[in-house]
């Protein structure tokens, strides 16, 4: 089966085949095999980015329609088929607004924090495959790297909140830091069970290890802890304290306007996608369709699982209020951490007995 690299390479080689007769000798290095490799990597990055961004648009649409039905209303209906293009219209609106930088902000930090927040979140996409043939990089410690990059964001949120010269943003940023510390640890520990059972940190090997049984069955507690940790990590209700709109206006995003705010919202959903994708890799057999895998390509299986999981998160958003920061931290340390430990013990036991 042709993977993404070979696909992009064949396109690049074809394009170069058309133009190489006009390329002068002095510029021949532009079509050398090394350059072609660089073009292919760039092309893959573009393909992955575009597909993931389209995917995020779909997810926002799913959220808007699904939460609207839960709330007994219809959601967007006018723009595009069933309001599908409403997100595009909203993005365009934000894009056309004036970019305002408030007085008194630490300008360098204010812009760079946003750039780094968005950049680090998009970088993760390189490591999140959609199937065993559709990926950018399949590194040995993929899971580890995803977490390393994914969990950088609260730090950027913190400095963004600090840079804005606004008390709401400052409190939002501090909450983000507190939330990060208390939820990162249970999140990591909840994954250890899966890693033990799969015996690898590589995403593709973790997925392939689930060909007989999804890890949610032996590691249900781990999934429970993981999904709560992911909710806190991507800052969705009930854990959207850093941008708690009732008391902190918009929290750390208060002073970001126009397309900057649009990008923050977009990246928030992107992080939601990555969180759901990780949960699907670790607990729901990734792109494996089990006995029905012949009916659909693996990418479709993967996306369907991600969307269903995302809908559960939307459901949670529709039925839960925001909780308080001290309660959040208490839940993190007093409930989730012991549960994650218990999950590790179960995983160790199962592995030691050779049942998994």
């Amino acid at each position: 089966m042709m993977d993404l690299y070979e696909l992009v390479e064949s396109i690049v080689v074809m394009l170069i085949g058309w133009i190489d007769q006009w390329v002068p000798d002095q510029l021949a290095f532009l079509i050398s095999p090394t350059s072609i490799h660089a073009y292919v990597v760039l092309g893959m990055a573009a393909v992955i980015l575009v597909i993931c961004l389209l995917n995020v648009v779909v997810m926002i649409w799913i959220e808007r329609k699904f939460i609207a039905r839960l709330m007994d209303r219809r959601g967007p209906t006018e723009v595009g088929f069933m309001g599908f293009l409403q997100n595009v219209a909203d993005g365009l609106k934000l894009f056309l607004k004036e970019v305002i930088t408030p007085q008194g902000v630490d300008r360098w930090v204010y812009v760079m924090a946003l750039v780094l927040y968005i950049g680090s979140s998009i970088t993760v996409l390189a490591l999140v495959p959609m199937s065993d043939r559709f990926f950018m990089a399949n590194v040995e410690g993929g899971l580890f790297m995803i977490f390393a990059i994914f969990t950088l964001a609260p730090f950027f949120i913190f400095i963004a909140g600090w840079s804005q010269n606004n008390k709401y943003s400052l409190i939002g940023g501090m909450r983000s830091a507190a939330q990060m510390i208390s939820y990162e640890i249970p999140l990591m520990l909840s994954v250890i069970g899966v890693i033990l059972m799969a015996g690898s940190l590589s995403i593709s090997e973790i997925v392939n290890a689930q060909s007989s049984i999804w890890f949610i069955i032996p590691s249900f507690i781990g999934f429970f802890v993981f999904i709560i940790g992911v909710l806190a990590e991507v800052e969705r209700i009930p854990f959207d304290l850093p941008e708690a709109e009732a008391e902190l206006v918009e929290g750390w995003t208060t002073e970001y306007g126009s397309i900057r705010f649009g990008l923050i919202m977009f990246v928030a959903y992107l992080r939601g996608y990555v969180g759901c994708a990780l949960a699907v890799f670790l607990f729901f057999g990734g792109w494996l369709g089990g006995p029905f895998s012949a009916y659909m390509p693996p990418e479709a299986w993967f996306l369907i699982k991600v969307y269903i999981l995302f809908m559960i998160l939307v459901w949670l958003r529709a039925s839960a209020p925001r909780i308080r920061i001290d309660q959040l931290i208490q839940i993190g340390w007093k409930r989730l951490l012991p549960l994650a430990m218990l999950n590790i013990m179960i995983a160790v036991f199962l592995s030691a007995m050779g049942w998994i």
Binding site: I171, P321, R322
Partner: protein
């Protein structure tokens, strides 16, 4: 972190209107709070001095967007006391019914806003949906959905329409069922309980000292209801319970309002049954108030005891009107309730005491 002042308002999602709450926070804990009102002062009391008595009825509607009818009724009751007019019995029953519908509308609006303050947007839309039904009822009887302009000095503007009784009973049946749904969303939700239980406790002694009235006082365990203790209209003929909760926290205030909606529906049912036939306007309504007359009238507004003080000078205009709003008293109780709580609880607490700035600033 050092202590700092955070301004919540006048443009802030917490405020539900136009007012400022300055809170001094130490980390996340509130150590001091100063409410500031007055941004929405429209001089309604002064305008009333320059209008004839019937002309001010629509103006009194504008005191509060949440419960317009209770304010125009209070104004009309005050003028009736001033002139010595008594409305016929049927009009009094109709007033009770519309006032209780207004109370339900107000409490549903409060519930929606409170849920949105807590961050649960689904519960913002559900009560709003049922509020529409009761606004339809008010539209049926008065023609208005938010501002009714329905009571008149000496009675009400028009009689109930034909299918009013059965429509009302139908909507009450709907709401009775939906209240269970709300309770499923709120009371069965541990996160709601975490956010409301033991948060923003107002002790009964403090509540009485500060002059807090209405559901907030009853939530603190003081069984005081003006409809029972100083009855007006025909409330003394109707059988209803005073809803009291013990703890005085946000959850108690929520429970009091939920139970009050049930009691209001109970009152409406009784009033519909007992309503006699007859005229809806008093025979003779004077145009002027006697010289030297002075009255102080109280009613049980959905937010507490609203009262109006009026002086007549023999002309067709009042010499002086004073309005005392329960929401103003409740806002002034904010520092007592807030100190010691956390900044994340400010929306939860201030939402639970049901603030309306229109009537506060007049």
């Amino acid at each position: 972190m050092a202590e700092m002042w955070v301004n919540m308002g006048p443009q802030h999602p917490m405020t539900h209107g136009l007012w400022t709450l300055k809170v001094k926070i130490d980390g996340e804990t509130i150590t001091d709070a100063i409410p500031e009102v007055g941004y929405l002062h429209r001089g309604i009391e002064k305008i009333m001095e320059n209008r004839t008595f019937p002309q001010s009825i629509p103006l009194a509607d504008r005191l509060c967007y949440g419960s317009a009818h209770s304010w125009s009724s209070l104004y009309v009751f005050t003028v009736e006391d001033l002139m010595g007019v008594v409305a016929p019995e049927r009009a009094q029953y109709i007033r009770v019914i519309t006032l209780e519908i207004q109370r339900i509308i107000n409490h549903l609006l409060w519930l929606a806003a409170y849920a949105a303050d807590l961050g649960i947007l689904t519960m913002f839309l559900y009560p709003m949906r049922e509020r529409e039904l009761f606004m339809d009822l008010m539209q049926m009887i008065s023609g208005g959905r938010l501002m009714y302009d329905y009571t008149r000095i000496g009675g009400v503007r028009n009689d109930t329409p034909d299918r009013f009784e059965e429509e009302t009973l139908k909507q009450i049946a709907v709401l009775e069922e939906k209240l269970l749904e709300y309770e499923g969303m709120m009371d069965d939700n541990d996160m709601i309980l975490m956010r409301t239980m033991e948060v923003g406790v107002l002790k009964p002694g403090d509540a009485i000292d500060l002059g807090v009235t209405g559901p907030n006082l009853r939530a603190s365990g003081v069984p005081y209801d003006l409809r029972r203790h100083d009855p007006y209209l025909v409330y003394d003929k109707l059988d209803f319970a005073i809803c009291v909760e013990k703890r005085g926290d946000c959850y108690s205030r929520y429970r009091v309002r939920m139970n009050e909606m049930r009691e209001s529906m109970n009152i409406i049912k009784q009033a519909l049954k007992d309503m006699p036939a007859g005229p809806i306007m008093a025979q003779k309504v004077p145009k002027t108030a006697p010289k030297g007359s002075e009255v102080f009238t109280r009613t049980a507004d959905p937010r507490g005891d609203s009262s109006m003080h009026m002086i007549g000078n023999g002309t067709d205009k009042p010499y002086r009107v004073d309005i005392k709003s329960p929401a103003f008293i409740n806002i002034s109780a904010a520092p007592t309730i807030l100190i010691g709580n956390r900044i994340a609880d400010v929306p939860s607490i201030m939402g639970s005491i049901d603030v309306c700035i229109g009537e506060t600033d007049r």
